[in-house]
């Protein structure tokens, strides 16, 4: 397997492990998958511009990826890269929200900041 392809698969596996470890259950939420669908649509456009072979900003060495490019000239590995990057950010964001709520519960009410209202808007 080409090196970039292998690293991209490893990154997705690490992201899945991170989601499991975090206990946030982000992957069970409709909110997450709808957001990822929107992110992928915009990724195709932005990445399409970055990788277009007529005037590329980023050049990929053909030895290190599968050579499957869609749409336009986007290497398919980039979608795994993008998923790993955005999904792990969302998992860590939810994790940080949760630990912040836990901290707030151990403090007197007067020290609560605005993020405290998330307890009410994010309840499941």
């Amino acid at each position: 397997m080409p090196e970039y392809t292998a690293l991209a698969v490893v990154a997705v596996v690490i992201t899945i492990a991170l989601e499991r470890w975090s206990g946030t259950r982000v992957f069970t939420r409709l909110q997450f998958w709808l957001a990822m669908a929107i992110v992928f649509a915009f990724q195709a456009i932005v990445d399409g511009w970055l990788t277009k072979l007529t005037a590329p900003i980023v050049l990929y060495n053909p030895e290190h990826h599968l050579g499957l490019r869609w749409p336009w000239d986007v290497p398919v590995e980039d979608y795994l890269f993008g998923f790993a990057m955005v999904a792990s950010t969302i998992v860590l964001w939810e994790r940080a929200k949760r630990s912040r709520r836990t901290d707030a519960e151990h403090q007197p009410a007067a020290t609560h900041d605005h993020d405290e209202e998330d307890r009410w808007t994010q309840g499941r």
């Binding site: 909110q31 929107i38 900003i57 860590l92």
Partner: protein, 115 residues
């Protein structure tokens, strides 16, 4: 101007997602402590991957479309900007979708109450 193409593309990503914060009320920029906590590990991990990719020759950058400003270990400035901008766009999308879903939920339960 071409040298700024990559940076301008990143600026466009920030501009197009800005209404998610201020119109849809995503509240991502307004929670800077959460934002930093979520992003630091991602920026570090993906910068390492980028540097490994450059070092192993997986990818390179067209000098026509980047400023030529390199960070340590030959990582272009634009790549660091990318690893900051794109996760922020992802979080804004995620929070905005959450806001819309909660709004739809409220409207539905309201409609049921009226019926």
């Amino acid at each position: 101007m071409d040298r700024y193409q990559y940076l301008l593309l990143m600026a466009a990503c920030l501009a197009i997602t800005l209404p998610l914060e201020f119109v849809l009320g995503a509240r991502v920029y307004r929670r800077p402590a959460l934002l930093v906590a979520a992003m630091v590990p991602v920026v570090v991990a993906f910068s390492v991957w980028d540097i490994v990719g450059i070092w192993r020759g997986h990818w390179s950058y067209n000098p026509l479309y980047v400023t030529g400003i390199d960070l340590p270990l030959r990582m272009p400035l634009e790549e660091l900007v990318f690893f900051i901008v794109i996760p922020i766009c992802g979080l804004l999308t995620y929070e905005a979708v959450g806001r819309v879903l909660r709004l739809v939920g409220k409207l539905r339960s309201g409609a049921n109450a009226d019926a």
